[in-house]
């Protein structure tokens, strides 16, 4: 093996010349910075790719985005309107009673609501129980949503009710 190394001695010394082949001065000072910035760019590109894919799936989204990008005032007005609607809905649902609906329902307590059969007050249909009784029969002071809840919990045509009836 040593003999083989000696045979290639001149070649190995010549190959040492290649160690002097260096990039321009200062090349390594900026190399890692370039790598890191390309990694960051790729990351941004990947995110953009996701947005592009979404735009491809639903083109109206991109059209809408473009429209609002050129008209920021419209975007602001629509955003504000959405907020007002949302707040209005929350406030309305939290009110103790809704006056217009409650009035009608109170009437239904004793006389029935116009257009609604007073079947609920009739003693002829006990099997239906509270499932069809008007919501106005519920205690006062509860909101519309509170009045609706009991209707959902009571089974309307359960087999047990029918058996009991028989």
């Amino acid at each position: 093996m040593q003999n083989q190394e000696d045979n290639f001695d001149a070649l190995r010394r010549a190959l040492k010349l290649k160690r002097h082949e260096q990039p321009p001065p200062g090349f390594y000072n900026s190399f890692s910075r370039q790598v890191i910035s390309r990694i960051r760019e790729n990351d941004v590109h990947d995110r953009r790719h996701v947005m592009d894919a979404a735009a491809w799936e639903a083109p109206w989204i991109s059209r809408l985005m473009q429209y609002f990008q050129t008209r920021p005032a419209y975007a602001g007005v629509i955003g504000a309107a959405a907020c007002v609607l949302l707040l209005g809905g929350v406030v309305y649902s939290e009110r103790p009673s809704a006056p217009v609906v409650a009035e009608g329902l109170r009437l239904g307590d004793s006389q029935g609501i116009a257009g609604v059969s007073p079947l609920a007050n009739s003693a002829e249909s006990p099997a239906t129980g509270s499932s069809i009784s008007p919501v106005g029969a519920l205690p006062e002071g509860t909101t519309l949503f509170d009045k609706m809840r009991p209707r959902q919990t009571v089974p309307v045509f359960s087999t047990t009710n029918l058996l009991n009836q028989k």
């Binding site: 083989q4 045979n7 290639f8 001149a10 070649l11 190995r12 010394r13 010549a14 190959l15 040492k16 010349l17 290649k18 160690r19 002097h20 082949e21 260096q22 990039p23 321009p24 090349f27 390594y28 000072n29 190399f31 890692s32 910075r33 370039q34 790598v35 890191i36 390309r38 990694i39 960051r40 790729n42």
Partner: protein, 207 residues
């Protein structure tokens, strides 16, 4: 940042004393810490660049491929289990990228030779080689370098890689075997064959 002396070959063992620090950097980089990865890049950029350059003999290609290798390594870092050192792993990525690139570029035979650095003219071995041993006494360092690169490009990629890693960069047979994923006997036989080939191509300049 200080640059390494080009005449001094790079050794994988240079990094062994702070292997723990390297593992910590790899862990941080895996979690997406780009500052940690920046440090890893700075550790190995010269060796990775040099290996690719000696394979391609082209500065621009070496720059692009070295950057691509580091970017790919970052993207694949989650899959790095630590079975080998990060150094070996990044070397493998760079070598595979370079070999694929060379396969695509083979038909072009494109070569760009960069200037020798100033120290080469003062290297006594090289001065003696050029002025005393070559038949054409007026052949300068640049001509010899050009012929060397031409001869290197005539070798197959695995043979060129073994010469670049061992005779130019000074890596041990064991390290090369790990990088090339082959046994040491294969490395030795490839090295011997590659040297024979080069000796033949450069006969007029080495006698």
């Amino acid at each position: 940042m200080t640059e390494r002396d080009p005449a001094k070959p790079a050794q994988a063992s240079d990094t062994k004393p702070d292997a723990g620090a390297e593992q910590a950097l790899v862990r941080r980089a895996k979690d997406g810490d780009l500052q940690a990865y920046d440090e890893l890049v700075q550790r190995y950029q010269e060796r990775i660049y040099a290996t690719i350059y000696h394979m391609t003999s082209n500065h621009e290609d070496a720059n692009d491929l070295a950057q691509d290798a580091f970017i790919k390594a970052f993207q694949a870092l989650k899959s790095f289990k630590g079975g080998s050192s990060f150094y070996t792993w990044i070397y493998r990525i760079a070598v595979n990228k370079t070999i694929n690139f060379l396969k695509q570029r083979r038909h072009k035979g494109h070569m760009s030779l960069n200037e020798l650095d100033f120290n080469a003219e003062n290297d006594p071995d090289l001065v003696a080689l050029v002025s005393d041993k070559t038949p054409q006494r007026d052949a300068g360092l640049n001509e010899l370098k050009e012929k060397l690169n031409e001869a290197m490009q005539r070798l197959s990629e695995p043979h060129r890689l073994v010469v670049a890693l061992h005779d130019v960069q000074g890596l041990a047979h064991e390290e090369i075997a790990e990088i090339m994923d082959c046994n040491i006997g294969t490395v030795r036989s490839r090295l011997f064959y590659a040297r024979q080939q080069l000796q033949g191509y450069l006969a007029d300049y080495l006698k």
